[in-house]
């Protein structure tokens, strides 16, 4: 049975009609018109679907949409500010941190979360991003991008 579920998506309130156990990922892509978050495996094995839910990094393929009721959801669509990219996006662009791009939205959300909460990953960027697989880049350029993102931020770039 469908249910009405409301949450804020990147600061805007949205309401979807959905079965409560429907993965948040599908609700975002199909009902909330936010297809930036990607489907990789659907089983918690890749991190492509990573979003920020109430300040926690989660895999939206394994979070039932009902868990987002009243919550704050942040996705790749909400990062850029008018026509200025978020520091992590800008850094991925400059450093070649994306190739095919399927992992990129999830990877960037994990990167953004890490810059907000560096204390949660004492091992630094590799540890913070260990839940996100990338089959293309070999990770080196992603690590370079994260370094660059910190530079952009300390130079006063957009990002929070």
């Amino acid at each position: 049975m469908k249910q009405t579920i409301s949450f804020t998506l990147n600061g805007n309130s949205v309401t979807v009609e959905s079965h409560p156990m429907q993965p948040l990922l599908y609700a975002l892509r199909e009902d909330a018109d936010a297809p930036g978050t990607k489907y990789g495996c659907g089983e918690g094995e890749c991190g492509a679907c990573t979003v920020i839910l109430n300040d926690e990094l989660v895999m939206s393929c394994l979070v039932p949409v009902v868990q987002a009721e009243g919550a704050r959801v942040e996705t790749i669509e909400g990062l850029a500010n008018a026509d200025e990219l978020h520091a992590v996006q800008q850094a991925f662009l400059e450093s070649g941190g994306a190739q095919c791009g399927i992992c990129t939205p999830g990877m960037i959300m994990a990167g953004v979360h890490h810059l907000r909460h560096p204390e949660r990953a004492p091992g630094g960027v590799p540890e913070a991003l260990e839940g996100n697989l990338c089959r293309c880049t070999g990770y080196t350029r992603i690590f370079t991008a994260m370094k660059r993102a910190k530079e952009i931020l300390s130079a006063g770039g957009t990002g929070s």
């Binding site: 918690g44 394994l62 039932p64």
Partner: protein, 321 residues
């Protein structure tokens, strides 16, 4: 899509009533949703307990520590009390799975997660654990299966945190909505010989409220070996703790239950300080009863290595590989 009923429990009474109607609990949902997507778990009614915030948190109590059933793996990994008093416990989970999983997965869900056997996890294989006729690991690829035979099915127990709880003799506190129940974790898990279809004793009408650790050990260490740094269950792991002149040596990911290495415990006896030689003897004793299958003989060596390293690490000594 299959449709099913969904409810949210707000308190113990509500949850007990839902369980009475055959509802199945969803905590973090990491294992349950995976099992449902694979069409292995065919539950028709789901009750979420994430709203029962009284089940979340870590408290010192009666000389021990109580961990609420809904406490997440990340909360355990970052807890300062546990980090000081029982470092092996946060160590079992701080590298388990991935940051995203640890943020959501709960301690109760972790010890109750179903086995990762790749035959069991695919609906196409109607294996013994799913009421079929055969354990496909016997003739198939058994790289990740048990190296200690305990019946006709050869799963390994998948929980990272369970061996640490077994080491200190934790109590599992459960409830049926009316009365509290207590299970000694040391005989909570069931071998395939005891029951082919269930991995533990918790009845369908009860739910876990907390895990109580009666006493913190004087020494503790956790050592694991895995193929990948993340996304992966260990190939073998060991928790060693020392309290009241006794060692507990618990092997994980090598048998259908977290395995107490009694033969190894006998070798080290009361000795608080263990040297390289004694650690090696204990490790050899721990794998004496191992009987690997066609493809997993290498994990006997890994089991031996983790026992030796855990004992030395618990005694503050370096170990070389």
């Amino acid at each position: 899509m299959r449709s099913f009923g969904y409810a949210e429990a707000e308190n113990a009474q509500g949850l007990a009533a839902a369980l009475g109607k055959g509802y199945r609990i969803k905590a973090g949902g990491i294992d349950l949703l995976d099992m449902m997507k694979e069409r292995i778990d065919k539950s028709e009614r789901i009750v979420s307990i994430t709203g029962m915030t009284e089940l979340r948190g870590i408290k010192e109590r009666d000389g021990g520590v109580a961990i609420g059933a809904l406490t997440t793996l990340n909360e355990i990994a970052r807890d300062e009390t546990l980090r000081k008093a029982f470092p092996a416990l946060p160590d079992t989970v701080c590298n388990a799975a991935t940051p995203q999983v640890r943020e959501v997965a709960t301690i109760a869900g972790n010890i109750l997660q179903r086995p990762r056997c790749w035959f069991f996890r695919q609906a196409e294989y109607n294996c013994l654990r799913k009421s079929g006729q055969a354990c496909y690991a016997v003739a198939g690829d058994n790289t990740y299966h048990s190296i200690y035979p305990m019946g006709a099915c050869h799963i390994t127990h998948p929980s990272n945190i369970a061996p640490a709880l077994v080491a200190v003799g934790a109590q599992i506190i459960a409830s049926d909505g009316k009365n509290p129940k207590s299970y000694d974790i040391r005989d909570f898990f069931l071998t395939p010989e005891q029951d082919l279809k269930r991995e533990n004793k918790l009845p369908q009408n009860e739910f876990i409220t907390e895990i109580f650790l009666p006493k913190m050990p004087e020494k503790s260490a956790y050592v694991e070996v895995k193929e990948k740094q993340s996304f992966d269950w260990p190939l073998a792991a060991c928790v060693a703790t020392y309290a009241d002149k006794k060692w507990s040596i618990i092997l994980a990911h090598v048998a259908p239950v977290p395995l107490r290495a009694t033969l190894a415990e006998n070798v080290v006896g009361e000795k608080a300080d263990i040297d390289e030689n004694l650690a090696l003897q204990a490790a050899e004793a721990a794998v004496k009863t191992a009987q690997p299958m066609a493809y997993n003989g290498f994990r006997v060596h890994l089991a031996k290595a983790v026992v030796r390293r855990a004992l030395l690490k618990a005694c503050g000594k370096d170990f070389h590989a």
